[in-house]
């Protein structure tokens, strides 16, 4: 049974690249949501194995979305990884303190994204298809 990941990001291009990357290299099943609100609804309806959550989104940002996910008994067990363009040490520290599993900096390398996510979540690396890449 392949892993299921929910990607919450307001940028369509990022959603698409992330989806193709993870589907291609890890073979996971990816669903996407374009806002925090939509993401919370999807996660509650059909809880994924992990959530990749963008930090800066209009209306409801990543930290607010994360807090709400934590408050909902249906979603509070789902590990959340922040995807952020804010990569200052202080910012990363703040996200960790919120209880996020990890903080992945944008832009990310598609070759290593699936590997990084697996490593953080303790998923077996064999699941990731090793592709001869540049790095």
């Amino acid at each position: 049974m392949p892993r299921r990941i929910l990607v919450i990001d307001d940028e369509e291009a990022i959603r698409e690249v992330t989806q193709v990357t993870l589907e291609t290299f890890a073979g996971w099943i990816i669903t996407t949501a374009s806002s925090g609100r939509e993401g919370i609804a999807r996660a509650a309806q059909d809880p994924p194995d992990a959530i990749l959550l963008d930090v800066m989104m209009p209306d409801m940002d990543g930290p607010s979305t994360f807090k709400e996910l934590c408050q909902n008994p249906a979603t509070r067990h789902i590990p959340v990884l922040f995807l952020t363009a804010k990569v200052q040490a202080a910012d990363i520290e703040a996200f960790r303190n919120l209880g996020a599993k990890a903080v992945i900096a944008k832009p990310f390398d598609p070759m290593s994204l699936a590997h990084d996510v697996s490593k953080v979540l303790g998923w077996e690396p064999e699941a990731i298809q090793q592709v001869g890449g540049r790095r």
Binding site: E11, A13, V17, T21, K86, Q88, P107, P110, M111, G133
Partner: protein
């Protein structure tokens, strides 16, 4: 005015000093005949005369010149000595002209010969009129004096200072307030040039304004300037200079001035606060800008880099060789753009102090080893040998940031080293500072470039950023980080033989040495487990 002679009644009060009652009666008769309304008393001797004067209130004294034992002139002298202004007329038999002139000179109102008594009424009237005039003048003088006194009091108690200057600026007069405002006494600067003690920065302007005032009659100009007070401090004065050189009663340039040092200080404070507010607003705008740029640039870059990265893997389609090469160019340049954005944001934020250095006790040797480990792969790919000299010393620094500096310097050294050469990292303690040194055997840096390579976008060769993948900001970031640690960074180079980059950090202070020691101990204990 004659009517004022007696306050209670219009009757004239006459004192007669005469030893011959018949002569006295003749006088009184003459007065009655002329219609005088009067009362009279007759005294003969000196004591009696004096007693009457002390006790009575007389409008006029008629006195004989020749009296037994003394004279009318002596009686008048006595009266003058008592400071009594009572019209005094000598009524006398023949006296010489010389005596008469002498008496008038001394202030006796008039003299009337006994055989010309018809003149007496007129002499009395004139004497009374003269006295009234004298009183009027005295009153006017009193008023004038009073006014002058008030004027002086005003000048003395005025908060403003007043100075009178000549056309050349010499001090002709200063009011007493100068003492309060500037500390000089009113007298001590008379004759000096007033412009002499103006602040050097205000001299030229004040001189030009003074000449402008002096040029034209009635010209008036206001100026703010700093003036040296007696205690050596500079006072801000607001001066209004008015040209009254042609005004006969003044004949000078009048300068009214007041101390506005407090006001200037307040204005300065307001200006400073405004600047501070502006600076903060700018800083906030800059922070917002940095944040927006950070997000807005990284988001499309993430998509571009991700999409190109996917293509480069060849997993999505089978590209031709040219296509692969083009995708590789895209990936490399997207990476370069990411580095550039990161470096710009990093530099801005370090310089603005927005990133506080997370200083802690750390081991210099450990940081050096870690940095070298991280750069080992890069060194190998360039065919460069990387060496680290073992070193042990404690640092009070942000280890991540110092690592960033070391990696940056090592990366530069490796990039510019020919294959087969060595890059050496070492450190030593010099004058209570720890000096790090990254030495390469590369092409070297021209002397004229050495001073500016730590500036932004100041690579030795413009093509470096393309060929070597640098952003032109690495050394600027290094300098900012080292500066935030209170240290300095510099480079030495010999063309064709290589360069050495140094940075030096202050040793931890005495109070931190203990903390460092403890840090060492716990590090040792930890490694023992």
């Amino acid at each position: 005015m004659i009517e004022e002679r007696s306050e209670s009644q219009d009757r004239l009060n006459i004192l007669l000093l005469e030893n011959d009652p018949a002569d006295a009666e003749l006088c009184l008769h003459e007065l009655r005949r002329s219609g005088f309304d009067f009362r009279s008393e007759l005294v003969q001797g000196q004591e009696e005369f004096c007693a009457k004067i002390e006790s009575g209130n007389y409008d006029v004294i008629l006195a004989d010149y020749n009296l037994p034992g003394w004279s009318g002139a002596e009686a008048f002298e006595w009266l003058q000595g008592r400071n009594r202004d009572i019209p005094f007329i000598l009524v006398t038999g023949a006296i010489g002209d010389e005596i008469a002139v002498e008496c008038i000179k001394r202030g006796i109102s008039d003299y009337v010969l006994k055989d010309r008594l018809a003149r007496l009424p007129m002499a009395i009237r004139r004497a009374l009129q003269e006295k009234a005039l004298r009183e009027e003048r005295a009153q006017a003088e009193r008023m004038l004096w009073e006014r002058e006194r008030r004027f002086h009091a005003l000048m003395e108690h005025s908060a403003d200072g007043i100075a009178l200057l000549s056309a050349e600026g010499r001090i002709l007069f200063t009011s007493h307030s100068e003492n309060r405002i500037l500390g000089y006494t009113a007298q001590e600067r008379l004759g000096e040039n007033a412009l002499k003690l103006i602040h050097p920065d205000d001299q030229r302007r004040a001189g030009a304004i003074f000449r402008e005032v002096a040029r034209k009659d009635r010209n008036s100009v206001m100026v703010h300037l700093r003036y040296l007070a007696r205690d050596g401090s500079w006072k801000w004065l607001e001066c209004i200079a008015t040209n009254l050189l042609n005004e006969p009663t003044v004949q000078g340039i009048v300068v009214n001035y007041r101390d506005i040092s407090e006001r200037k200080r307040a204005e300065e404070e307001i200006r400073r606060l405004n600047e501070e507010l502006e600076r903060r607003a700018l800083e906030r705008m800059k922070d917002e800008f940095v944040s927006v740029v950070s997000h807005e640039l990284r988001t499309p870059l993430t998509a571009i880099r991700g999409a190109l990265g996917l293509l480069a893997t060849g997993k999505l389609c089978q590209p031709t060789q040219t296509c692969q090469r083009m995708v590789a160019v895209g990936v490399a340049n997207a990476d370069r753009l990411v580095r550039l954005v990161n470096d710009i944001l990093d530099l801005e934020r370090i310089q603005a102090g927005a990133i506080p250095m997370q200083k802690k006790v750390c081991q210099a040797g450990e940081l050096m080893r870690q940095a070298a480990d991280l750069m080992q792969v890069t060194a190998e790919s360039h065919g460069v040998t990387l060496t680290v000299a073992p070193y042990s010393a404690s640092l009070w620094a942000d280890p991540d940031r110092i690592m960033q500096v070391l990696i940056n310097l090592l990366n530069n050294a490796i990039k510019f080293s020919p294959p087969g050469s060595t890059v050496a990292l070492r450190a030593e303690r010099i004058d209570h500072e720890i000096r790090f040194e990254v030495k390469d055997e590369g092409r070297g840096i021209p002397a004229e470039s050495l001073s500016r390579i730590f500036e932004r976008f100041q690579q030795v060769d413009a093509s470096d950023s393309r060929e070597k993948g640098g952003t032109g900001l690495g050394l600027a970031i290094c300098r900012s980080i080292v500066a935030q640690h209170g240290g300095r960074i510099w480079a030495e180079s010999v063309l064709g033989r290589g360069s050495t980059f140094f940075f030096q950090l202050p040793e931890p202070g005495a109070e931190l040495q203990d903390a460092c020691k403890k840090g060492n101990e716990s590090a040792t204990q930890n490694s023992g487990h």
